[in-house]
Amino acid sequence: MDKQVELQIQAKLNKGVYLVQLTGDITKKSGKQLLDWHHWEAGLPGQSKRLVLDFGRVNYINSAGIGDLIRLVRMGKDGLYQSGCFGLNYHYEKLFHMVGLTRWLTIYPSEWAALDTETEVG
């Protein structure tokens, strides 16, 4: 099987929003990679209070990966940060609703909407 890195993670601060671009697959292994990529429980870099995940280059997410996304957004729910996302395929939007992930993760139709709305919220 493909031994390449399953998930590439790039992040930047944009308008006070911590924007995390994900490329690849989110599975048990790469979900852990995402959780270990930053000390999320300490808050976001640059004292940002808003996390936006860009799923536009994500092709496959399995149940273990969704479990790790639940953990990621729940770590911010007590005031550390709010979470949003865009670029999500309708199928995964359906799964996110099904597992209750959308209680903590707002789904936006575009990057512009995510950044603009998130900025206004703050």
Binding site: E6, K28, G67, I70, H91
Partner: protein, 133 residues
């Protein structure tokens, strides 16, 4: 189709479904539903059925019956008596996805092959099975 019991092997199944999609046998929403259900069944088979013993195979069988796609995923484990309900918030959604996304799902022990089988069916919108499938 056979795959090894190693995380990542389930993606081989996606290639087969990609082929069905490209041939027009599946519509896009059906493709994604089936893709998630089958890969989750494979992950359960690899992890819980075969205990991630690489040499133990997971067998995936596709069968077209008129407008219905039947998929059977077999592993070398003993299965489970009933679908586990002790799901935590952030784990164990695989079986729930399978039940939600497929039209029919059951499981049984195949005494002939001595394996555990997850049997799933999806009624497809395209009533005409493409040639060669």
């Amino acid at each position: 189709m056979n795959i090894q019991s190693q995380f990542g092997e389930e993606k081989h199944v996606i290639k087969q479904l990609d082929l069905y999609l490209s041939q027009g046998a599946l519509q896009e929403d059906e493709y994604y539903d089936i893709r998630t259900a089958v890969t989750e069944a494979c992950l359960n088979a690899m992890e819980h059925g075969n205990q991630l013993q690489n040499l133990l195979p997971v067998k995936i069988h596709f069968e077209w019956l008129e407008s219905r796609l039947i998929i059977i995923v077999k592993d070398c484990g003993k299965g489970f008596g009933r679908i586990p309900t002790n799901r935590e918030d952030d784990r164990g959604w695989g079986l729930a996805f399978i039940q939600h996304l497929m039209d029919y799902c059951t499981y049984y022990i195949d005494l002939t092959d001595r394996c555990f089988c997850m049997h799933m069916e999806k009624e497809l919108k395209n009533k005409h099975q493409p040639e060669g499938l």
